[in-house]
Symmetry: C2
Subunit: 287 residues, 2 copies
């Protein structure tokens, strides 16, 4: 609701309010949908309201609640976008959501620090949609103040009660405990750390591509790779294998592959799925 008002204040009026009723809270979910409908009417905007039976989808598809909810949302947004000829989806995730996501991903063991992106392009069926999160650096506290100062009528988002128990416990138990221990809202520090981490990841990818290691046939040019530091060689090989669809790349596999740089034999390494990483005519490639 705050995002809608901020957008209207900023002069955006070609907006469609999209609400997907996950049907997880019974009557409260229905009341949310009614609220969105009335809100759109009040501001003379179009609205799209759909209902999915998420528990049913999970039962029949075997997907996790999290994945099923995500797929349902993407599918819904793509439908709305197509119907209204729009290609931007604005989401109201804020800095505290971001901190929870960063912590959750860290606990799951994702590589490095990873939160939500401010801007992200998704190809959903035949639609290319840009997801934007204008509030990603805005704290929940600032949003509450904005709502209060503008005397805006709102409802708690039904997704806050989504059955993603782990996420909810991080929100309701872990984040308050961390704030109390550190004596301040830890979300901004976490968001800054994530931002720098993502920037560095992007820079690393960009700087590796500046090294022009890959020949026109998509093979690694060995003499150039040999000039790099062992750390950088490991990253290049890891990226190369990952892009070729090799999963669960262990450090010991990388070390075996690095062996192809130094030793005359062997000239190939076994990869999962009956594939090989080979050295031939000063090139490294997968066959």
């Amino acid at each position: 609701v705050a995002l809608l008002h901020a957008l209207l204040d900023a002069g955006y009026h070609n907006l469609v309010l999209c609400h997907l009723n996950h049907a997880l809270r019974g009557e409260a979910s229905d009341a949310d949908a009614e609220f969105v409908h009335a809100l759109a009417k009040k501001h003379q905007l179009a609205s799209e309201i759909q209902r999915v039976n998420l528990p049913e989808i999970c039962r029949s598809s075997g997907e996790s609640m999290e994945l099923a909810a995500r797929n349902a949302r993407h599918h819904f947004f793509a439908q709305c976008a197509e119907k209204h000829g729009l290609d931007h989806v604005l989401l109201a995730h804020h800095a505290n959501d971001q901190a929870e996501t960063i912590l959750f991903n860290l606990l799951r063991g994702s590589a490095g620090l990873k939160g939500m992106s401010f801007s992200q392009v998704h190809q959903i069926q035949r639609n290319q949609l840009t997801f934007l999160r204008p509030f990603l650096k805005v704290s929940r506290e600032a949003i509450d103040l904005y709502i209060e100062n503008h005397a805006i009528d709102f409802r708690e988002d039904a997704s806050n009660a989504a059955p993603i128990a782990t996420r909810n416990r991080i929100r309701n138990e872990v984040m308050p405990l961390l704030n109390e221990i550190m004596g301040r809202d830890v979300a901004p520090a976490m968001a800054r750390a994530e931002h720098i981490s993502q920037l560095h990841e992007k820079a690393l990818k960009s700087s590796i591509s500046e090294l022009h290691l890959i020949d026109p046939q998509g093979r690694i040019f060995l003499p150039k790779l040999k000039e790099l530091s062992p750390t950088l060689q490991s990253i290049v090989l890891h990226d190369y294998l990952q892009k070729a669809g090799i999963s669960n790349i262990s450090q010991s596999l990388i070390e075996k592959c690095l062996g192809l740089l130094q030793h005359p034999t062997p000239s190939k390494i076994n990869l999962p799925g009956n594939r090989f990483f080979r050295r031939k005519e000063k090139r490294l490639f997968i066959s």
Copy 2:
């Protein structure tokens, strides 16, 4: 104690047991020191036991307890190393200590993910010491099992009761809560994420140095910098300013400095401390 036994098992016998009594727990601290002395005697090893009055040092120097404890330890290790002609310090930090450190640094807003290093060289006065943490990937649980299986007599480390209240609350309240919510020990996942993040940081630094952007006079060669992506340009400038001792480098300062690449004027940017970032003869430098 477990580390000592593991080292003896592995055939290392030229060991000195070093124990710094932080004098923070009164009699318990003294009993720790006696335990170390007896342990060394039992295994026919030399021992070095010293006492520092940490609260007193903090009062007189104004340092934080954490910094004062660190300086006192480093000073003590340097003394021991010099006396015994040794240059490696083996520390028993384990995977759960590492997870706490990673989380603590994240909450403090350090850049990216940062834990303790497996191996680190410290220049302490005139001594160059290598700090090693052989147990950094070993869980506390595995260490407890090792102690139990070998029926080894031990004492709880006095540092576990160090007055670093925040660290202790992370250890005693946050980590158990995270483990409970995720349904497993989260330390290994966090350590893996940190390891990859550090590897990528190292690779980024290494790949930037491969680009040979700095001329023999230590200035940035502008035509080469211009060829890079904006992200990479930002990182290069950030690193350059940081190495020159500029602190608190904001994104807006970086953007101003990036302006020197595109626009003919101005040719200098104000930096903190009456210094300037200048463009002259296709070079960027600080004066």
